[in-house]
Every structure is written in C-alpha cells, then in structure tokens.
Amino acid sequence: MVKVEFLGPIQKEPLELEIRNLNELANILREDAQMQEWLENSAVAVNDTLVSSLDVDLKDGDRVSLLPPVCGG
C-alpha cells in the first residue's frame, strides 16, 4: 500500500492506494473533481523528497505528498 497525503490547504483525507508508480496516482486523482484545482499547481514528494517527473516507481510503504503553492514568512 502507498499512502498519499494532501498538505496545507488541500482539504482531503489521506488515501491508501495499491499503485506501482506516480502515473497510476495521476490517473486516479484526475478523476477526482475536488482535486482539479490542485493538480496543476502542486508539487509532489515521495518519502519527503521532491520529484520532478512521473517516472517514479512506488513500493509498499512509500508515502507520496502533494504540496500546493507555498508562502512562508
């Protein structure tokens, strides 16, 4: 199982998904109406490391995080 977390202002409970890569996650989230506003502007981290493409394999126990636009300070 891969845990998917939605950070900051994304009001969505974590998901537990049987997925093998980020492409599968993308396909699932694109079906979610609530997520449309966030997919275009959120960054993605796997096990707390930011990734820059979907060509990332996932294994059991991995955590994926979605990070919407930030504004610290």
Partner: protein, 148 residues
C-alpha cells in the same frame, strides 16, 4: 538551527539567544531578517501550516551550503495563528565576512519564499482563508496535472 514555535516569535529573546550562542565563533557579520504581520486588506492576523519533514531537509541543504562558505544559518518560524504586528519569521546568517552574509541572507530568504513547505492563511472575520494569490507554486509543480 531551525526552530518551530506554536505562537508568535519572541524576537528580542531569539535574537539575543542566537547572538550569544555565536559570541565566540569569530563571525564578523550577523544579519537577521525578521518578518512581521502587517495590517493590510482588513486582516486580523495570519495563520501558518508547516510540513516539517520537508522543511527540515530544505533547511539542512542550506546549512550545508552555508558551511561551505564558512557561515551558519538559523531560522525560527511560527505555526498556527500570529496576530497583527507580531512576528512569524526570523532567518539569520552569521559569517566571517559581510559580503558573504549579505548575499547569503538574500538568497536564503528568496529561496525560502519559493520553496519552504509553509502555507499562509489570512485571518479575517473569523475565517482562515488560504492566501493562494500570494503563494508560489514550488518548482516542478503540476506533474500530476492533465498533459497539455
């Protein structure tokens, strides 16, 4: 050193603590940057969410970068609510030489604004409203979006 506080920052005390910590490290320049909540657009204050695991990694990469220049960086940030005229952010560079310190604080604060996983909300009329229009998408954002 990165410290997260559950309330507004006690700026005089944090600056005093940092200054005294490095009093004998032989740094010639100390440059703090303090961010304070301004009254604008009728807000009562700001509120912050922080994702600490990625913040810690990001901060560690800057600490390593500073170390190569013989410098050190400290940072404090609030989570939760911070009201008008209270401070939510302090970053500081200690360095042997002033030019390194001046350029490092500049680069650090700019990168902080672009990358640090912290989300800001306006507190207004009892509501907590995500400050989307003042926020910056992290580099590489959008990979989950529909391919254009």
């Amino acid at each position: 050193m990165l410290s997260i506080y559950g309330s507004a920052l006690d700026v005089p005390n944090i600056l005093k603590e940092w200054y005294e910590e490095e009093a004998h490290s032989n740094y010639g320049a100390f440059i703090p940057f303090v961010g304070t909540v301004r009254s604008e657009d009728g807000i009562d204050g700001l509120s912050f969410d922080i994702y600490e695991p990625i913040l810690n990694r990001w901060f560690k990469s800057w600490q390593d970068k500073a170390e190569l220049l013989g410098a050190t960086i400290k940072m404090a940030h609030s989570k939760g609510d911070v009201m008008l005229h209270e401070s939510s952010y302090i970053a500081a560079v200690f360095s042997p030489k002033r030019k390194v310190a001046l350029s490092l604080i500049n680069e650090f604060v700019e990168d902080f604004k672009a990358c640090a996983p912290i989300w800001k909300y306006d507190l207004k009329e009892g509501k907590r409203i995500y400050a989307l229009e003042r926020s910056t998408a992290i580099k590489g954002s959008g990979i989950l979006g529909v391919k254009k």
